[in-house]
Subunit: 153 residues, 2 copies
DNA sequence: ATATGAGTGTTATAATATAACATACCTCTT
DNA sequence: AAGAGGTATGTTATATTATAACACTCATAT
């Protein structure tokens, strides 16, 4: 996001990463799962389940919701995508980060999302939690605002 | 949460706080809005819109969804409640904190939620965002895990 | 009293997600 | 090659969450 790049490379990298993950974890990147992951990456923004569904379907053929939700579940379990809670939408992840740590910058103008990879805040949040007697297992941070591109306009 | 307290006092305090807020902001805590706020506080956990709806309704009378969603919208705009995004549920707020800063400890066992009031992490996140050229307007942190009560069991 | 805006009632529908069960398809064993 | 067992998909139905649109009521301010 906000950096020029060959987006087709992102997608290739994501698929290749997914294939490796599946070998390592002994699970299968079936055609449906692969297609959903590709569509998520093509979108370049968080994409909603029913938009994926529409793109999966062709004129003479309609996929049903469970198809896409199952693929999303699989991809999520295997750390290949994230769900942006405040948008009910899904975005690809190409970073090797702890699965319990996710942080996003969400532009409310253009809707693009960038994942923040930064371990310190996570650590601080874990420590604060523990002080309260709470045992954290997962941290999700969603920061809304305006990206640099949109700020310039 | 996780601290013994007279919960009836929480509710009273919340209503009194809401009344003050409404005077200050020149808006109205109508009977519906007040009732919804009370029900949210009575729940003691995040509560869902349709559960509120059920509680608002009596045997011979059913409220409609817009009634509760409008009340929730009002309460949220006026910083009297928070929405827990990962649960599609709503919880009361009695803290005087910046409206753009909300952090929650969410116990996945008992479903109770505690709000964390702690300014440092927020500041750190703002700074990290700005370094990326992003102008933040709102931070939401949801930390899932196990509360001390549930850990003991 | 009457105009104005805020609040509520009502109907309908949109958007998001899952349950349940049937069928197909891999992969391993024999 | 046949069968068993598990994984994945197809299919139907339904649950859950949320909003649009328009009519009506009510407070209150001039
Ligand atoms: Zn990630
Ligand atoms: Zn933007
Ligand atoms: Zn709060
Ligand atoms: Zn608990």
């Amino acid at each position: 996001m906000w950096k020029r790049h060959r987006h087709s490379e992102c997608i290739k990298e994501a698929i290749s990463r997914a294939e490796k993950t599946c070998i390592a974890r002994k699970c299968r990147l079936t055609p449906i799962r692969k297609k959903v992951l590709e569509l998520i990456w093509k979108s370049h923004k968080p994409i909603k389940a029913y938009d994926l569904l529409a793109q999966l379907s062709s004129d003479n053929f309609t996929e049903k919701p469970p198809t896409v939700y199952r693929a999303l579940e699989f991809l999520h379990e295997n750390n290949l995508i994230h769900r942006i809670e405040s948008q009910n939408a899904y975005i690809g992840c190409n970073a090797d980060h702890d699965s319990f740590d996710s942080k996003f910058l969400i532009c409310d103008k253009c809707n693009e999302v960038e994942e923040l990879i930064e371990p310190k805040v996570n650590k601080a949040l874990f420590e604060i939690s523990k002080k309260q007697g709470f045992t954290p297992s997962l941290v999700n941070v969603e920061i809304h605002g305006t990206c640099s591109q949109c700020a310039q306009r």
